[in-house]
């Protein structure tokens, strides 16, 4: 077998796949005329509002655990008073967006893929086309925009709750003074730390909704097809988030 061919074929397939997904995303994001107010609002509720409890709880426990870890780690070189600053920076730059994004991936990418996949296998997508409606505009556009808009807000809420989680542990069991803890959290936090996390959130939102829509649209036949689409959507979203996080961190903080 020709080795060039063995490399070339998968490479071509990957390139073609990336191209197709990019085109899909562009078409999805561009379908805003006429502006789908109601559809976007409904999706904001589904994707943003209903994810608040999961994201909030995740942030709370993460912030608390982070405070404990940094405290015990910091003691090794007599630096345990950096807890508030490191918890704040770690939350807003990294853990808030990444864990928030992953939780939303689990909750939202799966439900989008299952919903659109079911519509695909029950021919509802075909029916949309026969009723002169572009399925991408009707189904994908509102979901992409709702996710892109709501993830930064979720991340911001998660940031605050995460810092509060650290504060809770810091003041109740690590011996910090409440006022000093909050002052220190503030003092070392820069605007760009927060901003970069929010930008990450928006990108992760796009990745989550895009994975769900793409996998759902391409769902195989039957219940098994929808099941596979759902799994792929969550896996793609999670891996995509972690890879994008690495790339963005490199870009923002090199």
């Amino acid at each position: 077998m020709n080795p060039l061919r063995a490399i070339g074929r998968p490479a071509l397939r990957v390139t073609r796949g990336i191209g197709a997904v990019t085109l899909f995303a562009v078409r999805g994001l561009a379908g805003l005329r006429p502006f789908p107010w109601w559809a976007i609002l409904a999706q904001l509720l589904q994707i943003g509002w209903l994810s608040l409890p999961v994201v909030g709880l995740t942030a709370l426990f993460t912030g608390a655990a982070l405070a404990l870890q940094i405290h015990s780690g910091g003691e090794r070189f007599q630096a345990s008073d950096v807890v508030p600053a490191i918890v704040a920076i770690g939350m807003v730059r990294e853990l808030g967006p990444v864990l928030g994004g992953l939780m939303v991936a689990a909750r939202v990418a799966s439900s989008i893929a299952a919903e659109i996949g079911t519509m695909r296998v029950t021919e509802q997508i075909d029916a949309l086309v026969t009723l002169s409606t572009d399925p991408i505009r009707w189904l994908v556009t509102p979901r992409l925009w709702a996710a892109v808009l709501s993830l930064p807000v979720l991340v911001a809420v998660g940031d605050v709750i995460g810092i509060m989680g650290g504060w809770l542990i810091g003041t109740t069991s690590l011996g910090f003074n409440s006022v000093t803890y909050i002052a220190n959290s503030w003092a070392y936090l820069e605007g760009w730390d927060v901003m970069s996390g929010l930008i990450k959130g928006a990108v992760f939102g796009l990745i989550v909704a895009l994975s769900g829509c793409w996998c759902g649209m391409r769902s195989g036949r039957g219940a098994a097809g929808v099941g596979r689409a759902t799994t792929s959507a969550v896996v793609a979203a999670a891996v995509g988030i972690l890879a994008a996080n690495f790339a963005l961190t490199g870009l923002f903080f090199r």
């Binding site: 509802q124 075909d126 029916a127 949309l128 086309v129 026969t130 009723l131 002169s132 409606t133």
Partner: protein, 229 residues
């Protein structure tokens, strides 16, 4: 007029359509029959551009058929009804109407179309999940005819209905064709329906059209003997 020439479609190894040629004249009612799994639904979806054929052309008035341009004039009843399950019954029926008129006007037309398929107004606000199979089929039918399309495709309109209802639906389809001059392509397993609605009947078998002739003389066609038995 719609014309299909040399249509071929395979799914993996399975050759489903293997050179289908078919014409439907303006205002004509064509019935397509054939055993289960021979590719009748695939044929309709190829004509509508929902499935990309491997080979062959589909012409409308002699022009290649571009789905999005022609779709406005088309109506389609899917075999499984394919109702949007996030929308209520009347919103399903009025789906296309609501794109160009007020909800109130669209709802009025939807109620009228629902009445034509034998569903009364308290069905209008149900969700598709609350319907029986036959009711869903009739809602799908109402949706297909809601915008008075010039060309209508029916994929097994009477399957799953009781005989009385089935004859009523046959009458409805025949009525639409004669009243509005619409072109209709109906897939069916029900020879009584063929007699009631068809001008012509085509038999799909082994991926090809093996019989194509007027309904009036179908009793003499040897190819159809098996179906008429």
């Amino acid at each position: 007029m719609i014309e299909v020439r040399g249509l071929r479609k395979a799914f993996g190894q399975a050759r489903v359509l293997d050179g289908v040629d078919l014409r439907v004249g303006q205002g004509e009612s064509l019935c397509v029959i054939g055993q289960s799994g021979t590719g009748k639904s695939v044929l309709l979806k190829c004509i509508l551009g929902l499935i990309q054929p491997d080979e062959g052309v589909i012409l409308s008035q002699g022009q290649p058929l571009e789905p999005y341009r022609f779709m406005r004039r088309f109506g389609m009843l899917f075999q499984g009804a394919a109702l949007f399950d996030s929308l209520s019954v009347w919103q399903n029926v009025a789906f296309r109407l609501r794109q160009r008129m007020s909800d109130r006007a669209a709802r009025a037309i939807a109620l009228e179309k629902l009445a034509r398929v034998g569903l009364d107004r308290n069905v209008a606000d149900l969700m598709p999940a609350e319907l029986s199979g036959g009711m869903a089929k009739r809602v799908g039918l109402a949706r297909a005819i809601a915008d008075d399309p010039a060309v209508i495709f029916f994929d097994e309109p009477t399957t799953g209905l009781d005989p009385i209802r089935a004859r009523a639906i046959d009458g409805l389809i025949r009525g639409i064709v004669t009243e509005t001059g619409a072109t209709a392509v109906t897939i069916t397993h029900d020879m009584a329906s063929v007699r009631a609605i068809g001008d012509r009947v085509a038999l799909l078998q082994g991926g090809r059209i093996v019989h194509d002739g007027p309904v009036a003389s179908m009793d003499q066609a040897p190819a159809l003997a098996h179906f008429l038995a």
